[in-house]
Amino acid sequence: MAPHAGLLTAAVQVRGLTRKYDERAVLDGVDLDIAPGEFVALLGKSGSGKSTLLRALAGLDAGVAGSGELVVPANVSVVFQDSRLLPWARVLENVVLGLTGADERGRKSLEEVGLAGREKAWPNELSGGEQQRVALARSLVREPELLLADEPFGALDALTRLKMHVLLRKLCAAHQPAVLLVTHDVDEAIVLADRVIVLDEGRIVAEEHVELAAPRSPADPGFAKMRSTLLEALGVSL
């Protein structure tokens, strides 16, 4: 398929993506473009296929049946719901895992996420929020063109989550990766993303461009309106 002129520079291009588990279509013809530096949040109920889409983009779905076209940049980083730090490697080793001679960059990344001085700590010694910040540092030290985040703050408490939102926005402003954030938290999606997509039964059923003034506050009437639109798309009526 010839790429559209306007999409030549897209970081992610998905066309007619289908993924099936046991003949059941989890993704059913998904089309999605993400521009370089764009922050897209993907909302959906459990089982809507949002994690399947993320895993397809991450190349983690070998052996899963399906079809469609998928263009992703060479340099993709993933942040999982669990920090997924190797417990037997110290914090800095975890950050630079698989890179050579990157200790100095690793230290800088840790500084960026506010963990300077914790290079030698074991992951078990850190709190859940700190572990997730190490995971962010591990992703960002690779300067990804695409950052995939699968409910990265889902396991954190509400206060820590708010702090992580601020941190993630700051980091994305500094590094400018394209981002696909999978979440089930509507507020989180509106606060963070340039664009929010709702997935239901493997299809994109809603799309909203977030054009609210910063700082985005739930008190803003535009915020409330967008939230109710998205909740409706998710099948929740208030």
């Binding site: 190349g59 983690l60 997924r84 190797l86 895992l97 698989g98 074991w122």
Partner: protein
Amino acid sequence: MSATTLPGIRREQVAGTPVVRRRRLGPGKPIKFGTALGPVLLLVIWSIGSATGWIDQRVLSAPWTVVTTAGELIADGRLQSNLWTSTQRALLGLAFGIVLGVVLALLSGLSRIGEAVLDGPIQIKRAIPSLALLPLLILWLGIGESMKVITILLGVFVPIYIHTHNGLRTIDARYVELAQTVGLSRWDFIRRVVLPGALPGFLLGLRFAVTGAWLSLVVVEQINATSGIGYMMELARTYGQTDIIIVGLVLYGVLGLLSDGFVRLIQRRALSWRRTLDS
């Protein structure tokens, strides 16, 4: 027994209000020199038995006789030279056995073909005692050092293989996924994820292997040997010298205990990242 040491829930009266404390489910704080307690107790019973004449000297020499005999054996150099020979055999067998066990565990743990080919024969070997293999090994290798080292090796590699393989297979699949997303090479995957992940299993296997090495040593040294602790004991048997036999037994015991303690020390150092019931 006082009321506060009763198992179960204790009730204490603090400032007039009853306090219910939960029963502690972990094993509690480690006891200082706790591992020495059992052996010391044994020694005390043995001493008391010998002093009271409750243990016949012809059946089992008294601890002090064993100590004097050990002194004599050291004085004429027999103990050191036999110990040195035995240690060399054990260490050689152990070293080769560890390498073989780890290599086989990696081959069988990281590839399905490796597992299909290797795991069966190793499980079969596991079911055959080294002692039963000895006649065949003597026919193949003679009665020289290589037969002895290989017998020890055969006893050592099995626990190393089994525990390393198990440790390797129980590495969380999520780490494998992580290794894929950060693009680790095969070698880096083995070095950063597989080996450290399998280390707890390997070290457990090593504890079995180390004591197993000394056990196999007994078997090979009491058959067709002309040196070593086992030979020294076998010779003492012909002359009915129970004190020398006991010196040998104590030596085996001490060596086994020391080497196990050594491995546990390594374990604590190498696995300091873990938070378990131990700490």
